[in-house]
Every structure is written in structure tokens, then in C-alpha cells.
């Protein structure tokens, strides 16, 4: 499989894991991040996964609806096995708590290939904005 197809397959798996868990079981997202992961949420930078997890705990229950997602392989970020990084852009709408208002959001991820487990990725950076 060429890098593009691999990226597309992995992206589909990632998106199908990330958003349902964000909505129903936010605690399981922790495994996606590493110590150096850079996370931005509406211009707020988190100094680590710990701080981000605390924030996720305070964020009201969510319900995401994905409109479009897109991915590109990143050859500048490849591991020893030749697996590349992936740039993912997602846009959609999200509702919080009991509030009926749907907010538009756009989220960009950079996934890095796991050094050890082939086919696995972690979130190297992530940027969420209401748009």
C-alpha cells in the first residue's frame, strides 16, 4: 500500500475512535497522547497532557457531528520502518451539555507513527477551534 492509502485508512480509524470516545468516554483519549504532545484549544495552549485531561474533565458532555475530514501523509515525519506522519483536518458541528446550540468546529491533528507498534499512531499535535 502506498503512503496515501495507508494514511487514509489510519485516518478513518482515528476519526472513528476519537470523536465517539470524546463524546462518550473521554478518559480513554489519554492513550492517544505522549509527553511532548502539543495541544491547542481555541487559542489556549496546554503545557502537557495532564493539564489537558483536567480541562477535558471540566468540558461539558459533547456531541460531535463530522462534516468533512481530509488527510495527507507527512514524509518529513517517518519512523525507521518507513511509516509516515499524517496531517488530518476535520470540520463539523458540536453540541455541549443540554444547550441546543450547534457550534461549528475545525480540528487539525498531526499523528506520528508509533516507534514500536506498527500501524499505531499517537497525537503529536492537535488544534481545535470554533469557527
Amino acid at each position: 500500500m502506498n503512503p496515501t492509502s495507508i494514511a487514509e485508512k489510519s485516518t478513518e480509524q482515528f476519526v472513528q475512535f476519537y470523536y465517539p470516545n470524546y463524546d462518550k468516554q473521554r478518559s480513554s483519549l489519554g492513550s492517544l497522547y505522549r509527553d511532548g504532545s502539543a495541544i491547542l484549544w481555541n487559542g489556549n495552549a496546554f503545557s502537557g497532557v495532564q493539564q489537558y485531561s483536567e480541562f477535558l474533565g471540566r468540558l461539558p458532555a459533547s456531541q460531535h457531528d463530522i462534516d468533512v475530514y481530509d488527510c495527507q501523509p507527512l514524509s518529513a515525519m517517518a519512523n525507521a520502518q518507513g511509516a509516515t506522519g499524517i496531517l488530518i483536518n476535520v470540520t463539523g458541528t458540536v453540541k455541549y451539555g443540554d444547550h441546543p446550540a450547534k457550534k461549528n468546529f475545525s480540528q487539525a491533528f498531526i499523528l506520528a507513527p508509533d516507534e514500536v507498534q506498527a500501524g499505531n499512531y499517537y497525537v503529536q499535535s492537535e488544534n481545535f477551534r470554533f469557527v
Partner: protein
Amino acid sequence: MSLIQFLQIKSKKTWQPLDCKAVDQQGTLLLVVDGDLLAASIADWTSEEQTDAITTDQDEAKAKLTTMDVLRLFLNFGCGWPAMMKLAGEMFGDTVVTLSFANNRLLNLQNLSFQHNLIKSYEGLQAISGTGKLLNLRELVLDDNPLVINEIKQRGHNRGYVRNVVKRFPTIVLLDGSPIQLSEDDVESIQKTGKIMPLDTRPNYFDSDETRSIVMNFLVNYFRCFDSGDRSPLALLYHPQAIFTITNKVRLRAINRQSRKTKKTEMDDGSKLEWNTPRPQSQAKQRKEKYSPGHSLEQAAKGIMTGSEVIGETLKRLPPTEHDFSNAKDYVLDAYQTPAGMVVILHGEFKQDPSLPPFSFDRSFILLPTEPGSVTASTGSPVTIVSDALNVRDYVGNQGFQVQKKYNFQSIFMPGSVAI
């Protein structure tokens, strides 16, 4: 000394005499004011039977207006600027008053004071405390109302009062001049309602000043060319193995609909693309994604283009654009270094045709330092594009990413009170 001068000295506040003239022999006066709370106050001085025509609109000068009509008029002028409203108790007396906020023009209201009124219960505030109303309210004063006096007298403390108010006005940071302080449990239960976020939206993010200056320069040059009508120079900014993808969720506009049939046949002869035109089959995948059972994504026309030449050709075929960066509020930008390169994420709007509504868009670039001797080096650009992802969608405006002023918010009714 004139009467006006005498009155100005004697009164405790600064004021200007009104623009006032007699319009007929019966003593009808026309008072022209700026549409501020003067109109409402003046209405109060006159009884409703002998209401003078007080309006900010000269055409309506003949109409007889009640106090409520004047207030409604005033409220409708509130759109567009952060308005201050201080409703004096004398205005309403004992009458139960219904305020209609149906037009929701008070979106920008940040400070509101009902100090020294006759509000007896929270129901009295129902008209303005519902979902979607007063979204930017930051300061509320309810001091000196029977409601507050009773709440605090009953319990001996104000915690219940504060909690009840914040539940109804979750965006406020100052209540009766003091910063809101709630217990962890209260904060949690309010956030469960989803009306406020645990963090406010912040402006453009850059991980360093250097990032900011590099990225601003890059974007100004890139979009100057992108909007110029000749996009061919842009190809030189892309790495030989750069990747460009374009996605959209755009409703077909009426203009496109008519010529769609002809567009399809013209597709492969190198003519213009529309934002929602599917890419040629050889280069694109058109798919209906199933995100979850029963929910399918809009058909996203997707193409992945590799290499500066192919990208350059595609850019040339995209519709004309105009990005007006002078309206800074219409764009939000984040840029930071990653192991993949410098990530630049821009959200905003552009116009394809000055007479048509704009589109909203999201653009992600990844930039690497330009290699000496490369094609990009010949342009003088310090950065080379290795990734470019564009998403175009129907226009939604800039409300989503506006920064909320929570930090160092000052009370305007009680000077010296600051919320941090």
C-alpha cells in the same frame, strides 16, 4: 448666567440641553435625541395620556408612543455596539412590564444594571435570562431589589443568590460589583448545562515572535498572489513533493446549477473549476463516507495533488478569490513548530464574486525552511510549502472565533471592581 448654565452647574451630572422644537400650535414638542437612554428617561417624565412624540426617527414624529414603545425603539438601536443600560426604578413603578427581546438585538450587551428596582423574583428576569439571550453579558447589578434583599436575609449569606443568578446568566463575571466566586460543585453543575466553556476563546496563537513574523510575511505574500488573478508564481513556493488537498461542503449555488451540465463536459480541457466541482476521476476519489451507521457525510469532492507543477496547475484553475485581511476580526490564525515543520492554520472567509456572499474556509499549511539552491530559494521566500489543505464551506461569519473579554473586566457601575 443663563438658565441652562445654572442648571448644568447645579446638577450632579454632566448633561447637554435637548434639541427641542415646537411642531404645531397645540404645544406638541419634537425632541430629537441620539437614540440613547435619554429617550427612555424622557418618556418617563410624561404621562401616557399626553405622550409627546419622542422618537429618534423623524418620520415617526407624528405617532404617539408609549413608554414601552420608546424603550423598544431604544433597544433596537443597541445592535452593533456594546450598550449600557441602567433602568431606573421610577420608570416602571409597580406596573408589571413585559419586555420583548424577540429580535435578539442585544447580543453585544455586556453591562446591565437593575439596581434599585422592584424586582421581586427571578421570574421577573425571565425575558432576558433564557438560552441564547445576552450571550455577551459580563456584568449584572441587581442590588437594592426586594429579590436580593430577601434572598440574603433568608439565608444569612449570598451564596444561594449568586448561584441562582449565575445559573440564569452563566456568562457574567461581575455581580453587584464583585467578581463571581463559586464552589467547585456549582461550577461543575453550571458547566453541565453547556452554556459556558471552562476556557474562553483566545486570539491568534503563535509559539514565538519569530513564528509570528515568518508566518505573517508568508501569508501576506501568498494571498496577494492567490487573489491576484495570476496564481502561477505560487507553484514556486511548493516543495517538489508537496501535497495539496481540497475539500468542500458547499451548497450548489443557483449560478452554478444552470451551467453544471456544460461544466461537466468542459472539465478535462483545463478550464475553470468551481469550489464544489468534483475533481477528474484519475486524480480524485469521490466518496460518500459513512461516519457511523445511518449517518453519511456530505459528498466531499476530494483530490490529492502531489508536486509543485500539478499543484500550480490546480491553483490556476480554482475560481478567483478575494481575501480582505484588513478586517482582522474575520480571520483567526494559529502557528507553531512541530516535527513535521511549521504548522499554519487559518480560518476565515473570502469572496469569489463581489456581488455574492462570501465563503468560509479553513486552510492548513506545513512549512519547512527553504533549502539553498532550490526552486523556492529563487523566489526569496524563507519557507517552502510541503503540505497545503484547503476546505471550503458555506459562509457562517466570524462569531465562532471571537475573543471574549473576560480578563481584567471592569465594572462600569461600580468603579474599582475588576474581574480577572
